[in-house]
Amino acid sequence: MTLTLEWMEWTLPTAIFFSTIFLILVAMTIWQTVAPSIERRGFLPIPTTPGDRLFIGLLGSAYLFLAWLALTDFTLWIMLGIAVVWMIVVMRWG
């Protein structure tokens, strides 16, 4: 039996997308082991750990991207920039 991933119909953009998320998770795991974080309260209405903020940031980005696609005709690269800024804001001050 050989294990192939052909059925998953991989494309380069999705491979980059999932690799990035995987790398972020690995990096944050290492960061957490080296310098353990504690729950804290930022501008979000709930106390959060860095993991919570990563999740909120990514989910928020998903909504931002969908809104961008639904409401505008501009290129997605602008939206990617906005998403990166949003991720930084949530991770730093959320």
Binding site: W7, M8, T14, I46, L59, L66, L69, A70
Partner: protein
């Protein structure tokens, strides 16, 4: 700073992670891959970028299904929460009546979901159904032809099926209130209403939060019952998100648009699941929700 002591415990989670990878993570990655391609068959696909997302986001049938879904979930909560609490308050607190009513209340919850649809199809049929035929003696009623009747039938079925869950949770919450609270209320001469408003309702807050969110999620993902009962009709009047999704992805076999739709549905569900999770976390800690 506190140090992590139990990092080795993560290895115990590994088997679960492998199972979840096969049941959820790899499939959802595949759906993401599908959603940006036009696929005819294995290995035959064209990259289309965000086209399916734009098509799905602009699809007015999806918008209609989404609003229908929110209307359905809203009505479910509006009816089932007060009704469930009322039933819990009316249930006996001691004696043989407790077991009798608990078993009676649980019965609808034990029936398989597609069987529920079949039961209600027969029950509400205008020609031979007990309910359908009886109502037709008074007013015209046909859930296969008239949208309003289909909604009424669907709501009746949903309320009959799931109100017991709210009732059982609310009852558990009620039974957990120490007798001393009621004695204190009696001494103060509190009315039934103020006992409910100032003692029972606040003390039930935790379980009611769980009931509210469970009922919201379940009704938001509902598929089997309306699929069996109405099949999404008459017309599109009871086509909820899941029914429309199955139509696109499995009946028309449009894997690309189906994938994009799934992911839009997924982020909505994910948002509510996360709020559910946060609320439950805080119920556990006894904080204000």
């Amino acid at each position: 700073m506190e140090k992590w002591e139990n990092n080795k415990a993560w290895f115990l989670v590994l088997p679960v992670f492998i199972i979840v990878a096969f049941s959820s993570i790899l499939p959802i990655m595949t759906v993401v891959n599908y959603s940006i391609q036009d696929i005819w068959g294995p290995g035959q696909s064209i990259f289309v970028g965000t086209e399916w997302y734009e098509e799905m986001l602009a699809d007015h049938r999806l918008h209609d299904a989404l609003w229908r879904q929110f209307l359905f979930s809203g009505l479910v909560l509006l009816i089932e929460m007060p009704l469930g609490i009322l039933l819990a308050l009316a249930m006996p607190k001691r004696g043989w009546g407790v077991s009798a009513s608990l078993v009676t209340m649980s019965l609808p919850l034990l029936i398989p979901w597609n069987t529920i649809g079949t039961i209600w199809i027969i029950f509400t049929r205008p020609d031979i159904g007990l309910f359908g035929a009886a109502v037709n003696q008074l007013v015209e009623f046909d859930h296969t032809a008239r949208p309003l009747d289909a909604w009424i039938t669907l709501m009746l079925m949903e309320v009959w099926h799931w109100t017991p869950l709210v009732t059982l949770l609310a009852y558990a919450g009620l039974r957990a209130i120490p007798e001393a609270y009621y004695q204190a209320a009696k001494i103060d001469g509190a009315s039934t209403w103020s006992t409910f408003w100032y003692i029972q309702l606040p003390k039930m807050r935790g379980v009611l939060t769980i009931a509210f969110l469970l009922r919201f999620m379940d009704s938001f993902l509902i598929y089997a019952e309306p699929f069996v009962l109405t099949g999404g009709g008459p017309g599109n009047s009871t086509t909820f998100l899941s029914i429309y999704l199955v139509k696109i992805a499995l009946l028309q076999f449009d894997l690309g648009p189906g994938g994009a739709f799934s992911l839009i549905y997924f982020v909505i569900v994910l948002l509510f699941s996360y709020m559910f999770y946060q609320a439950l976390q805080r119920v556990g800690k006894g904080e204000k929700v």
